[in-house]
């Protein structure tokens, strides 16, 4: 017996939930970005697993995964630029202390 699809889906769900915990429970903004990266990777694993197991003669799954790669790279670049800009003004990257827009 080879690897059933369920193993990949459960693995991707677990990776997504670890990333979700990282986003919700960490204080540093860059640590939150790392959690977001884990979630994006789990989504990609899901996409490629569905491609392989449902329609390997097509190519839509891989194209979608390539798009997710591009979007993740763009988002990390802009996110880090924002974090560096905030650090220059407020001298902190702890998410609790970036509270100028809170009422």
């Amino acid at each position: 017996m080879t690897i059933p699809l369920s193993w990949y889906l459960i693995f991707a769900a677990a990776l997504f939930c670890v990333g979700l915990f990282g986003v919700l429970a960490r204080k540093n903004a860059i640590a939150i970005l790392m959690g977001i990266e884990l979630m994006l990777n789990s989504v990609n694993v899901n996409l490629v697993a569905f491609w392989r197991y449902r329609s390997p003669e097509g190519i839509t799954g891989q194209v979608f995964a390539v798009m997710v790669f591009a979007v993740a790279a763009a988002e990390v670049a802009v996110g880090l630029a924002l974090i560096i800009s905030v650090y220059r003004r407020r001298k902190t990257v702890v998410a609790d202390e970036i509270n100028l827009m809170k009422w």
């Binding site: 017996m1 080879t2 690897i3 059933p4 699809l5 369920s6 193993w7 459960i10 693995f11 769900a13 990776l15 997504f16 939930c17 670890v18 990333g19 979700l20 915990f21 990282g22 919700l24 429970a25 960490r26 204080k27 540093n28 860059i30 640590a31 970005l33 790392m34 959690g35 990266e37 884990l38 990777n41 490629v48 697993a49 491609w51 392989r52 197991y53 390997p56 003669e57 190519i59 839509t60 891989q62 194209v63 995964a65 390539v66 798009m67 790669f69 591009a70 979007v71 993740a72 790279a73 763009a74 802009v78 880090l80 630029a81 560096i84 800009s85 650090y87 001298k91 902190t92 990257v93």
Partner: protein, 168 residues
């Protein structure tokens, strides 16, 4: 059988690295554990016969994004060793939410009848890389999302330079 053992090992390494990423007190250690997780995901792409995506994962995620994250960590440090806590006070709520979400996802996926399917045999004469290359530039396939992704990357490039620009 060997594939199953490889999958279990790689999945364990990836999830272990991910757990260390989100619980490590040192941010640079977190970034290094993230690199281990990303490499584990690349190995999983090889197991899924998506070899181009495996190489793209290593080059894009580990070679660019993880390095960028380490640069970001180094540029935003106040102290060399930060003794304060890195986890919120309400971390137990986040853990509970994650576990509930995982349970819900797994249960919902298990009710789908394609859940236990095996991998269909891939014909040996199709080349996923060539198909991917053609699909990204063929006018009746995915050239429009491809060009839009380029515009997105251009916008992100210009935007991040302007945001992080330091006037001297």
């Amino acid at each position: 059988m060997a594939l199953q053992i490889i999958f279990i090992f790689v999945a364990a390494v990836t999830l272990g690295g991910a757990l260390m990423t989100v619980t490590s007190r040192n941010l640079v250690h977190s970034a290094l554990w993230l690199i281990l997780s990303l490499f584990g995901v690349a190995v999983l792409y090889v197991l899924l016969n998506a070899s181009f995506l495996a190489v793209a994962q290593v080059v894009i995620y580990i070679g660019a994004i993880a390095i960028l994250i380490i640069f970001g960590v180094m540029m935003t440090r106040r102290l060399v060793i930060d003794p304060s806590r890195q986890i919120n006070n309400t971390w137990w709520l986040a853990a509970l939410l994650s576990l509930v979400f995982f349970g819900g996802l797994s249960w919902m996926l298990s009710t789908w009848d394609g859940f236990w399917s095996e991998a269909p045999i891939m014909a040996v004469n199709i080349d996923p890389l060539k198909q991917l290359g053609k699909a990204l530039v063929a006018p009746d396939l995915y050239v429009l999302p491809f060009e839009l992704a380029s515009v997105l990357l251009l916008a992100a490039l210009i935007g991040s330079i302007i945001i992080a620009y330091e006037k001297r």
